[in-house]
C-alpha cells in the first residue's frame, strides 16, 4: 500500500451522504473549479487581462503616438532623458515617449504570441492527430520528420526561418509558429497513444461504444489537456522568442509598430546614460511572460489533480 493509499484508507470509503457533498461534475467543470481557487492562476490571469486591456486601449492610454519624425528635435543632443513629469518612462534615443511605446508594444507581443501559437497548434495538432490515429507508415514518416525538426535548437530554427522569409511582423509570427509545430505534433501523438491504451478507452470499446464517440468523447478531451497546458506555456515562450529576434535586429522594421525586444536592441550602447531604456521594456516582457507561465502552471494543476503538490 502506498502512502497516498494509506491516507485514502484513513479517509475511509465514506458513504456518499457523509462529508461535504460535491455535485457530479465533468472533467472540464471540475478543472475550472480548481482553477478559480488556484492563487497563481488567478494572479496570472489578472496580469494577462491587464496586458490585453493595454493592448486594446493603447491609443487611448498612450500619451503620444509611438513614433514621429518630429520627436527627434526634443532630444537636444542629450541621450536620453530619464523619467520626468512629462514622460513618465523617459524618452528614447529618437526622442520618442518610452511609456507610449511600451503600451503599444503590448499589442505586438500579444498578437505575435496568439497568432504564432495558433499556427503551431493548428498544424501541430493536425500532424500529431494524423500520426497518432493512423499509425503505421504515416506515423513513422511524420514522426521521423518531427525528430529532424526537433534536432534544431528552437531559436536557431526561428532565426533561420526569419532569414528565409525576410523581416516583418507576419514573417516573425510564421517563423515562431512553425518552430512550435513539431513540439505540438509530438505532444498530441504521445498523449493520443497513451489515452488509446488506457483502461477507460478499452472499457468503452468493450461495451460497444462506436469509434467516433470513443475518439470524440473519450480520447480527444483527455489527450488534449496536456496540449492546452503546453499551448499556454508556448505563449510565454513565443513572447520571449519574438523579443529575442527583435533584440538581434531581426524584428519588424516598421518604427510605428513598437516591439519590446526591438526596443532593447540599441540599449547596450546607452546602458551608462539611459539605463531606463534597457530596464523598462524588459520588465514589460517579464511581466507578460510571467502571466502566461502562472496560468499555464495553474492549468496543469487544475487539469491533472494528481500533479498538485
Amino acid at each position: 500500500m502506498s502512502l497516498s493509499e494509506a491516507q485514502a484508507e484513513s479517509v475511509g470509503a465514506a458513504p456518499p451522504a457523509a462529508g461535504p457533498v460535491h455535485p457530479p461534475t465533468g472533467l472540464w467543470r471540475d478543472a475550472w473549479g480548481r482553477l478559480r481557487h488556484n492563487r497563481s492562476a488567478v494572479v496570472g490571469a489578472a496580469i494577462i487581462g491587464l496586458f490585453v486591456l493595454i493592448a486594446v486601449f493603447a491609443p487611448l492610454l498612450a500619451p503620444e503616438p509611438p513614433s514621429s519624425a518630429t520627436f527627434l528635435e526634443r532630444l537636444g543632443g542629450r541621450c536620453c532623458p530619464g523619467p520626468s513629469a512629462a514622460h513618465w518612462f523617459g524618452i528614447d534615443e529618437l526622442g520618442r515617449d518610452e511609456l507610449s511605446r511600451i503600451l503599444y508594444g503590448a499589442r505586438t507581443s500579444l498578437l505575435i504570441a496568439v497568432v504564432s501559437v495558433s499556427v503551431g497548434l493548428t498544424f501541430g495538432l493536425l500532424l500529431g492527430a494524423l500520426a497518432g490515429y493512423l499509425r503505421g507508415i504515416a506515423d513513422t514518416v511524420v514522426m521521423r520528420f518531427v525528430d529532424i525538426l526537433l534536432a534544431f535548437p528552437s531559436f536557431l530554427f526561428a532565426i533561420g526561418l526569419v532569414a528565409l522569409l525576410g523581416p516583418g511582423l507576419v514573417q516573425i509570427m510564421v517563423a515562431i509558429g512553425v518552430v512550435n509545430i513539431p513540439v505540438f505534433a509530438r505532444l498530441l501523438r504521445g498523449s493520443m497513444l497513451a489515452v488509446r491504451e488506457s483502461d477507460y478507452v478499452l472499457a468503452a470499446r468493450s461495451v460497444g461504444v462506436p469509434p467516433h464517440r470513443i475518439l470524440l468523447v473519450h480520447m480527444l478531451p483527455n489527450a488534449l489537456s496536456p496540449v492546452i497546458v503546453a499551448a499556454t506555456l508556448a505563449m510565454a515562450t513565443a513572447i520571449i522568442e519574438a523579443a529575442g529576434l527583435g533584440f538581434l535586429g531581426l524584428g519588424n522594421p516598421d518604427p510605428s509598430v513598437p516591439e519590446w525586444g526591438t526596443m532593447l536592441a540599441n540599449t547596450p550602447r546607452f546602458l551608462q546614460s539611459a539605463p531606463h531604456l534597457a530596464i523598462l521594456p524588459g520588465v514589460a516582457i517579464v511581466l507578460s511572460v510571467l502571466g502566461f507561465n502562472l496560468v499555464g502552471d495553474g492549468l496543469r494543476e487544475a487539469i491533472d489533480p494528481k500533479l498538485r503538490t
Binding site: 502512502l3 534544431f152 535548437p153 525586444g261 546602458l271
Partner: protein
C-alpha cells in the same frame, strides 16, 4: 538489439535529414549565394563565373552529393566574409561557446539540484514558496534582458566585473585549446585564469539562470514524487541513516527525470548563447552564425549550423545513454 545500438542507428536518418534541410534552406534563401558575395552592383557575368567556381550551377542533387562528400571529408569550405576556412573558425569559436555553455550548465546543475531537493524537503514552508517564486521568475526572464541587467548592475554601475569579451587586452597567453580557462592553466598563469574567470562569471550566470530555474522546479517535483514512493518507506523501515535514504533512495530516483530535462536544456543553451554572446561580445559560435545570416555567408551557415546541430544531437545522445546508466530498467529492455 541493445538500447545503445538502437539509439545509435536512429542517429543516421536524423543527421541525413538535418543536412538535407540545411542544404535546402541555404538554396532557398533570398538572393543567391553569389549575389550575396558580390553585392548589389554586380554583373550577371560575374555572378555566373562565381557560380561555376563554387559549382552552384549544377543540378541540386549533384550539389547535395558533393556537399555530403565534402562533409564526410570534413571540408567545410572557406568563409566568404573572413576568407578563413570554416573548420578553422569552428575550432577557434566553438570552444568559446562550449566554455560558456558548460559554465552555465555547471551553475544550473550545481545550484538547481540542491535547491530543488531542499525545497521539496521543506515542502509548503517559506523556503519552498520562495524557490517556487524564484524559479517562476527565472523561466520568465529573457536571457538577453537578464544579461543586460547583470551587465548594467555589476559591470557598468558597480564596476566589479568586466562587461565585454573573454580576456583583458593586456592578458597575453597562448591559446592551444581556445578554452581560455584551460589555456590559462596550461600557461601556468594564475592572473590569466582569474581574468578568464572574471569574464566568464556574468555571461555564465545570465545563460545559466533559465536552466537553473527549470532544474530547480523539476528536481523539486521529482523529489516530492519519489518521497511518497513505497520503496522510500521501505528504506525508512530498515532503519538506515537519513542521509542514506535521501541520497540512495530519494535523490537517485529523482535524478532520472532531472537528467532528461538537463538534456533538453542543451538546445536552450545553444539558443541562449547566441543572445548572451551578443550582449557580452563573446566571440563564439552564436555571434558568428548570426553575422553569417546577415551577410549571407553560405559556407559558414552550411558548416556552422550543421556543426551546432550535430553537437546538439550528440549531446542528447550522451544524455540518453547516461540515462540508461542510472536506470537499470532501460538497459535491459
Amino acid at each position: 538489439m541493445s538500447y545503445v545500438t538502437r539509439r545509435l542507428l536512429l542517429l543516421v536518418p536524423i543527421l541525413l535529414g538535418v543536412s538535407l534541410l540545411v542544404f535546402v534552406w541555404i538554396r532557398a534563401l533570398p538572393g543567391g549565394p553569389a549575389q550575396g558575395l558580390l553585392g548589389e552592383r554586380t554583373t550577371p557575368e560575374a555572378v555566373q563565373a562565381l557560380e561555376r567556381q563554387y559549382g552552384l550551377n549544377r543540378p541540386l542533387y549533384v550539389q547535395y552529393g558533393r556537399y555530403l562528400d565534402s562533409l564526410v571529408h570534413l571540408q567545410l569550405g572557406t568563409s566568404i566574409t573572413s576568407r578563413r576556412p570554416v573548420a578553422e573558425e569552428i575550432r577557434r569559436r566553438f570552444p568559446a561557446t562550449a566554455e560558456l555553455a558548460l559554465a552555465a550548465m555547471a551553475v544550473a546543475v550545481a545550484a538547481g539540484i540542491p535547491l530543488g531537493f531542499l525545497a521539496a524537503k521543506r515542502h509548503h514552508r517559506a523556503f519552498d514558496q520562495l524557490s517556487l517564486v524564484g524559479s517562476l521568475l527565472g523561466i520568465s526572464i529573457p536571457v538577453f534582458f537578464l544579461a543586460l541587467l547583470l551587465k548594467y548592475l555589476f559591470a557598468v554601475r558597480l564596476g566589479w566585473l568586466p562587461s565585454l569579451g573573454r580576456l583583458d587586452v593586456t592578458t597575453d597567453i597562448a591559446h592551444p585549446t581556445n578554452f581560455y580557462t584551460i589555456d590559462a592553466v596550461l600557461a601556468g598563469s594564475p592572473a590569466a585564469l582569474l581574468d578568464a574567470l572574471r569574464h566568464l562569471v556574468l555571461p555564465a550566470i545570465a545563460l545559466g539562470t533559465i536552466p537553473l530555474a527549470i532544474i530547480t522546479r523539476i528536481t523539486r517535483a521529482a523529489v516530492l514524487d519519489v518521497m511518497n514512493e513505497d520503496y522510500v518507506r521501505t528504506a525508512r523501515a530498515k532503519g538506515i541513516a537519513r542521509r542514506l535514504v535521501d541520497r540512495r533512495h530519494i535523490l537517485r530516483n529523482a535524478l532520472l527525470p532531472v537528467s532528461t530535462v538537463i538534456g533538453l536544456q542543451i538546445g536552450l543553451l545553444l539558443s541562449g548563447a547566441i543572445l548572451t554572446e551578443t550582449v557580452f561580445a563573446w566571440g563564439g559560435m552564436g555571434t558568428w552564425i548570426f553575422d553569417a545570416v546577415r551577410f549571407r555567408d553560405y559556407p559558414v551557415l552550411q558548416g556552422g549550423i550543421l556543426f551546432l546541430v550535430i553537437v546538439f544531437v550528440l549531446v542528447n545522445l550522451v544524455v540518453d545513454l547516461s540515462y540508461a546508466l542510472i536506470d537499470p530498467r532501460i538497459r535491459y529492455r
